[in-house]
């Protein structure tokens, strides 16, 4: 490697890739074992470092090139943007990945790319890198490749043979926004490869059941990403779209990327507009409620309240709108109901269900188990006769909880409020 040039390329192509927020390196059920005494394996995923913005670094996340034939307004690598351009060679990406992996810096490679020449030409390079890593370097670490919309089915299929995860980013939550910011693109272009991948993944999974020697195909599934706050969509539209991806496309993850202003384009928020980090956080919380807490998207957002509350989390918001479901007796309620109590997470709910087999749990037991009792107490019923629960309205409860919690966003939030007032 020519040291200086590679150093410069890495700076350019890592910088250009950082707005893709996917960071997962977990293999799911099909772990890639190092059975050939080669290099690496995949497991539950490890975050090897955290940048100063607090985001995890688990993969070498780079673009193969930031040359691009498209001019999508929201993208830093758009054709009309006056920035330094660079391109890695296949061998450079392989050497970087192996050099970083052997030093335990990373879990693997996340390779994306601008579209140069045409989709097939770009996809072919991505596949070649993954193939070289697997076959020549005996690399069993994690590989996440972008499936380039418009690339041939054969190439996408080949990518699935070497990669753990494939992703196609929808970027704009609705067709309308896509037309506004990327007139050359259609939603159908990204839905097509997603659908193809979904069917292939299901097909290979079925085959694996009857024949354990069958090859792996994208064992960590597929994911996608939506940019939040660049356009006018409300949370109902965004979560509705996410729900569609989870239910119809079997997505493992949908990522929400708060828009970081990078352009003076009048269609977009001005440079200097704060990144909508609270909203992004609330969307992830809602996403978790749907995937792990048994909530239906309609319970979290609806036509009557299309946006998530910014000052309280969506689970508390749901509880306050549904006070008739409370109080819940944690000594007898089903796990599904306990999961719905604000202040009690999945691990805590499971702890409660195990611990109550040995004795009737009282408030001090809950505190010992590490439950956010100050939040959950408004929603709990205890059998003890001396316990008095005042009848509070949802406004009163909200006020009391907001008073005790010292939100990490408090400062941030008061700024944002004043913007709207």
């Amino acid at each position: 490697m020519v040291h200086e040039r590679v150093m410069e390329k890495l700076a350019i192509l890592a910088d250009a890739a950082k707005y893709d927020v996917s960071c997962s390196s977990s293999a799911g059920q099909n772990k890639r074992k190092n059975s050939n005494k080669g290099l690496g394996d995949t497991g539950n995923g490890i975050c090897h470092a955290y940048t100063e913005d607090g985001r995890c670094v688990s993969l070498l996340k780079i673009l193969l090139t930031n040359h691009c034939i498209f001019d999508c307004a929201y993208c830093v690598s758009r054709k009309s943007n006056d920035i330094k351009r660079a391109a890695f060679t296949v061998q450079e990406v392989v050497d970087l990945t192996i050099g970083f992996y052997r030093r335990n810096y990373i879990e693997g490679l996340f390779l994306s790319s601008g579209i140069f020449d045409n989709p097939d030409f770009t996809m072919e390079r991505l596949v070649r890198i993954a193939k070289k890593l697997r076959l020549e370097e005996n690399f069993n670490g994690y590989i996440h490749l972008k499936a380039i919309p418009g690339a041939s089915d054969e190439l996408i299929k080949e990518a699935g043979m070497y990669a753990d995860r494939l992703s196609v980013n929808v970027e704009m939550p609705t067709e309308k926004s896509l037309k506004l910011l990327a007139p050359e693109k259609n939603h159908a272009d990204v839905i097509k490869p997603m659908e193809y991948l979904k069917n292939e993944i299901i097909g290979y999974k079925e085959e694996k059941k009857s024949n354990f020697k069958a090859p792996l195909f994208a064992p960590a599934g597929q994911s996608t990403q939506m940019v939040i706050g660049a356009t006018q969509e409300n949370d109902l539209e965004i979560l509705g779209m996410a729900n569609y991806f989870y239910e119809q496309m079997n997505m493992r993850r949908v990522y929400y990327s708060g828009y970081v202003p990078i352009s003076y384009d009048s269609r977009l928020p001005e440079i200097g507009t704060p990144v909508p980090m609270i909203r992004e956080n609330r969307l992830y919380q809602a996403d978790w409620l749907i995937r792990f807490y048994g909530f239906n998207v309609n319970e979290i957002v609806g036509f009557d309240q299309p946006n998530l509350d910014l000052d309280i989390d969506p689970k508390l918001g749901w509880a306050l709108r549904n006070l008739n479901q409370f109080p819940v007796d944690i000594n007898s309620a089903d796990l599904e109901l306990i999961l719905r109590i604000p202040g009690i997470g999945v691990t805590s709910a499971q702890k409660i269900v195990r611990a109550r087999k040995f004795k009737r749990l009282q408030p001090e037991d809950l505190k010992k188990l590490g439950i956010a009792y100050s939040r959950s107490k408004f929603f709990l019923a205890f059998s003890s006769p001396f316990y008095l629960q005042k009848d509070l309205s949802s406004m009163q409860i909200k006020e009391q909880i907001l008073n005790i919690q010292n939100s990490k966003y408090k400062n941030n939030f008061s700024n944002q409020l004043s913007l709207f007032q």
């Binding site: 890495l10 490890i46 607090g54 611990a355 004795k359």
Partner: protein, 258 residues
């Protein structure tokens, strides 16, 4: 009160549990070999680690605990928390005296303490799987220095052996003065003596592979390039990467030559 002096190993602790029952010892306090405040105690009892006795206790515990429960017990031992041996003994007593599996009884202090200690060790070993930063020497050895809060090398060796099966590596715990070394076949525990100061830059330059510094700089470069300035969140950064680990993290050590 009886002072139990044992060798500090898990097998030693198990042997001690056996002998507490065997000799009907009451109010025991554990001490590792080097402790010398034995004068404070009326009785001292020396434990000779005995695999037979250890196995009998372990098998007894296995009958009353799930695999996960046994793992937790083992991890908790390596937490090196204050009075962990006594806490583990109270837990073992409860386990052995109860006809049913009690590991879910988290409102019981002994059970909760063991779980917390196991959690602490688990977190620390996960951190070490993340924070080990190998450096390559001229003779193709990848070495790393760590200073974990808990004694986690025994718990992470399998992870590194499975993952880096085709490279020689050494992970050295500079707090506990021992390391684990993989020679492409198996992992062995090693003690090291250095002829010269191992952290002096001259020494490092002499032993390092010619590309080592380049890769460290690439990594620093990458680490700063992926940061998004407008999302800066120092509190979160430090929460995930506490400062006490920085001195062994390549990306947090500025490149002095620049």
């Amino acid at each position: 009160m009886t002072l139990l002096i044992y060798d500090g190993t898990f097998g030693g602790w198990l042997t001690a549990v056996f002998e507490i029952y065997e000799y009907k010892l009451k109010d025991v306090v554990f001490a590792k070999n080097e402790s010398s405040n034995s004068l404070l105690f009326s009785n001292t009892h020396h434990i000779e680690t005995d695999p037979k006795k250890a196995n009998r206790v372990l098998n007894g515990l296995k009958k009353h605990l799930s695999t996960h429960g046994i793992t937790n017990l083992y991890h908790a031992f390596f937490s090196e928390l204050d009075q962990i041996e006594e806490n583990l003994f109270r837990f073992a007593e409860y386990v052995l005296s109860s006809p049913v599996n009690i590991e879910g009884d988290l409102s019981n202090n002994a059970v909760l303490n063991v779980r917390k200690a196991a959690h602490l060790t688990g977190k620390e070993s996960h951190r070490m799987k993340a924070f080990v930063r190998f450096k390559l020497t001229k003779d193709n050895l990848y070495y790393a220095i760590v200073e974990p809060d808990c004694n986690v090398l025994p718990l992470i060796q399998k992870h590194f052996k499975d993952r880096y099966a085709d490279q020689k590596w050494l992970i050295y715990d500079s707090k506990r003065k021992y390391g684990i070394y993989y020679d492409l076949e198996q992992v062995a525990t090693v003690q090291l003596t250095f002829d010269s100061n191992p952290s002096s830059s001259k020494f490092l330059a002499e032993i390092s592979d010619e590309n080592e510094e380049f890769f460290q700089n690439l990594w620093r470069n990458y680490f700063s390039s992926v940061n998004i300035e407008s999302r800066k969140n120092t509190k979160l950064h430090i929460q995930h990467m506490p400062k006490r680990y920085w001195k062994n993290l390549t990306e947090k050590i500025p490149n002095l030559k620049k």
